[in-house]
Symmetry: C2
Subunit: 158 residues, 2 copies
DNA sequence: TTAAACTAGTTAGCATGCTAAGTAACTAGG
DNA sequence: CCTAGTTACTTAGCATGCTAACTAGTTTAA
């Protein structure tokens, strides 16, 4: 396990700047790799989550899974629908909500996407052990909880 | 050291989705905490980097330190200047470049900002050991390198 | 049963990142 | 010394996140 003090300082500099930069780079790497499929970051991310949540998911559930707000999702969903990758059907039990399904063409695209992502994932995680990845993932979850607590702390104070 | 397999899977789901979400949350926590100072995320981040790089830094150097592109910085710099937090002076040795300095008012704001950030940082890093933070920071640096290699791989291929 | 409150989704408009393309100043080769 | 290329910065416009405020169904409670 290589552990170098300077890295910790790098992270400290802007607190979350490193994370943002790495996030953008990883996202760009995937987006570039899937470019032949005509997908942008928000669109391929949504497709992967729809797949994991199973078809028939509502926009609310999808937004929650993606960790974004509903209005952010609306735009992406509209684009996926225009590209005929998904269709939405109004839920007969609750006419407010719309359930999402892949089209046949969408399913084909999803397969291609998953193949490419598997390859990119391997490249992005290169040189990192499972233990390191777990520590990072654990740290992210912990920081997420900390940040949420911190946000309610400062919102409540006003 | 707590290491839980499910977390790794969480990270895997959208590859970099967790990182983006945690990044946004941490950023929002700081931005909320410094809200009384009238600063947005891009502005406080830039201020911290200017401080670390020492005054008289050029926009080019600052953009590089922030890990963003010049046009993204232009907007932020303009706002900081309008708020009279910084001033820019054309470099007499190279009239293309502009050096950045804090105003007196800007320095006062910087002090207040740094105090608040120190507190928020403590909260965001709560429950995480130095070793865990180092592993995360190391992982981020490694992933950044991987992502850059991946990006040139896919750009070169076209 | 009907008015009030809630919930799913949308629209409008802001913040911040980006790329592409333009301007002005510097540098290098003939 | 002048043209060609490079560099620092700006402008314009796109992508994706957000909040606030709206519409239209659903639920709750008097």
């Amino acid at each position: 396990m290589i552990s170098s003090p300077p890295f910790h300082e790098t992270l400290d500099l802007s607190l979350c700047g490193s994370m943002g930069r790495v996030f953008r780079l990883c996202r760009d790497a995937v987006t570039l790799a899937v470019e032949p499929l005509g997908l942008t970051q928000s669109r391929w991310t949504a497709m992967i989550h729809i797949h994991h949540l199973k078809q028939g998911v509502t926009q609310q559930e999808l937004a929650s899974s993606l960790g974004i707000e509903m209005p952010s999702l609306t735009r992406t969903i509209k684009q996926l629908e225009q590209q005929a990758i998904i269709v939405r059907r109004i839920d007969s039990d609750d006419k407010r909500s719309r359930k999402i399904y892949f089209t046949e063409q969408g399913l084909l695209l999803l397969d291609a996407l998953r193949d490419i992502m598997a390859e990119v994932k391997t490249q992005l995680y290169a040189e990192l052990t499972t233990q390191q990845l777990d520590t990072m993932a654990y740290g992210l979850v912990q920081m997420e909880a900390n940040a949420r607590r911190c946000i309610s702390h400062f919102s409540g104070e006003q």
